[in-house]
Symmetry: C2
Subunit: 199 residues, 2 copies
């Protein structure tokens, strides 16, 4: 039983339904909303509706956009023949922050994960194959997280793309720049050694 | 610079403006909203507006309510002559959960805190004094947190109420039930000793 007015209870419940927000935090957030000026509370509510209604996935690369095609797909200055395949829109943001890549993207919205009942048909692999099948692609770069699921997904896709004769690569594994060798884990060190390069 | 659609950026920003929510969590929450069914996103937004517009403070005790007077103040079965003074609506909820108290409440919405520039006029002390001045009150129980600010507030209020000849008490300090003596802090032990009772 609660001792708050029902409108407050409902808001607490909504916040508590968010991932990583417990009941105590949800209460704190709801009280914070009560203390906001009315317009700010309204503008928060509008931001939720606006994001949910207007953000969709790009027709071509499946990245998030508020247009039919995302700005990267519409860009005239980016290489047409290279596609970097990532698991989520956050990874596009991470790649873009590095200011090194000038090709296109493909966002899978997940990775193959049998344990979580996510199969190849549950993520946007078909859309990628269609893009490659349409021609004009020279290289597909796999940029999934270097874990079992990421590698499984990368291997699965590279097998699918083989018939089209495109070059399939993946990001290099190794010691992160600025990290200390001492604290690198065994798997990373092994990969770094395997991928050693002449200097 | 962000690489997300602006509607998503705005939502991330809103979440990040909440207390205790960092940029990474805000991003996770915003992505969660994008994945919600449309009606659920709308119902979340409505809960925000609804809480902000309909939750107000009770005319009498200043507790949160969606009516003119809260359910405790409207109740016929609760003692009229006893007021328990708390700092926040959450404390009313805590007291009610104990199922022990059957009087009325007064919610100050804060405590006197010179460091945070909160003086007696910034919290609902005047409303309490008015209630006591109106007569019919026998006892006022101070139930602020047992810290410097809580005690200062309690002392300040009890001085204000003295002229009205009401009994002013405060909650007992002591070892929490179920706690281990070994881990009780010095201040609590001192208070527990001071307040020792015959058995």
């Amino acid at each position: 039983m609660s001792f708050f007015p029902s409108a407050l209870d409902e808001l607490v419940e909504k916040f508590a339904s968010l991932p990583g927000v417990g009941l105590k935090s949800a209460q704190r957030l709801a009280f914070y909303i009560l203390d906001l000026p009315k317009e700010e509370a309204r503008s928060f509510a509008n931001a939720i509706i606006n994001a949910r209604e207007n953000v969709r996935t790009c027709r071509v690369c499946q990245n998030l956009t508020d247009q039919e095609e995302c700005s990267i797909c519409r860009s005239q200055t980016r290489e047409e023949g290279v596609i970097c395949v990532v698991a989520s829109p956050k990874d596009v943001a991470a790649m873009e922050r590095a200011h090194e890549y000038n090709g296109r993207y493909h966002v899978l919205h997940g990775v193959i994960s049998p344990l979580n009942h996510i199969g190849p048909d549950d993520i946007r692999i078909k859309e990628l194959v269609d893009r490659v099948a349409a021609g004009g692609i020279e290289e597909v770069i796999m940029a999934m997280n270097p874990d079992t699921e990421g590698e499984t997904t990368a291997k699965y896709i590279s097998r699918l793309l083989k018939p089209f004769g495109v070059k399939v690569t993946r990001l290099a594994y190794g010691i992160p720049v600025g990290a200390s060798l001492e604290f690198a884990d065994d798997a990373t060190l092994m990969r770094a050694l395997e991928g050693r390069q002449e200097i």
